[in-house]
Symmetry: C2
Subunit: 157 residues, 2 copies
DNA sequence: TATTGTTATACTCTATAACTATA
DNA sequence: TATAGTTATAGAGTATAACAATA
């Protein structure tokens, strides 16, 4: 009969080791799927000298003209202090502008320049094209189901 | 007629700013869902003085007795060099043991101690209980569908 | 007194190169 | 010559506290 407390097994029989034990943890599978998408997006965005982070910020500024940094940080769930460097870089590259809000001179209004809008458009097209490749085997209905699930996790947590 | 190139809008009308523009990017929604789970797991594992990273490593050692560090790093998709500190901490806390593989003295065999197994069991129970809360409104079928989708993303990417 | 943007800083995570011992 | 484990280190990413300007 096999001992309950066998001591220090030394090597795996062949190659049976796997991460199956972690698969019951939803966060584990979520992270891995996220990392796959992140790697792909990073590669794609490198062509535009953008990081995923700065692309997200630029996209939200394009979509929300005049948004103040504090609101952008809130949406992106990052610290205002960490957003500063991202904005600095986007502004230096003349992709966005910072203008004072005359109604509340503590705030800035962020706006994408024409150049910023054009770059965002191209970068979005590139990442979405590549996303389409990855999700090619998903039907439209399946894709909708997936994104609905992801939203529910955010809402429930 | 509205100008095509209006200059520098300054503030949003009320509070319409949102991240809706990023929602067509699957990676964005994946990251946010992942971050929710990660935050919750971090809080829960803090009670056991474990990080998500070290809990994952410990769990895989429990599930794969005798696994060598190089294989563990491969499964976790992290650098061997970064795994060393994680193993050091787990070993110092006597949750795992490192023993030389006599067949290949370059390798170590990692094994969870009884203490390590017990801690892993409790920590897994805690995180899974909390995961159940988050996914409470998912039917079993929906949950299966979600995890299958996540696996497909990993496989396609 | 509170908020916005900012600076400085520390802490964690991750990536890379080089070393040793073994094969 | 190649591989496993390790060390050291640099670079990101992230979090916190404090400050000036403004409300």
């Amino acid at each position: 009969m096999k001992q309950l407390h066998e001591s220090a097994p030394v090597s795996q029989e062949a190659d049976v080791s796997s991460d199956e034990a972690m698969r019951e943890h939803l966060g584990y599978s979520l992270k891995r799927a996220y990392m796959c998408m992140h790697r792909k997006a990073t590669d794609e965005l490198e062509k535009f000298s953008l990081k995923v982070r700065s692309f997200s910020a630029l996209s939200l500024i394009v979509a929300n003209p005049g948004i103040p940094p504090s609101r952008l940080a809130e949406i992106l769930q990052i610290e205002r202090s960490n957003l500063v460097l991202i904005m600095d870089e986007l502004e230096t590259r003349e992709l966005i502008s910072r203008t004072r809000d005359p109604h509340d001179r503590r705030r800035f209004a962020l706006n994408a320049t024409l150049r910023g809008k054009r770059l965002q458009e191209k970068a979005a097209a590139a990442t979405l094209a590549q996303q389409t490749q990855i999700t090619a085997r998903f039907t439209a209905a399946e894709y909708e189901t997936l994104t609905a699930f992801l939203r529910r996790i955010e809402e429930e947590a």
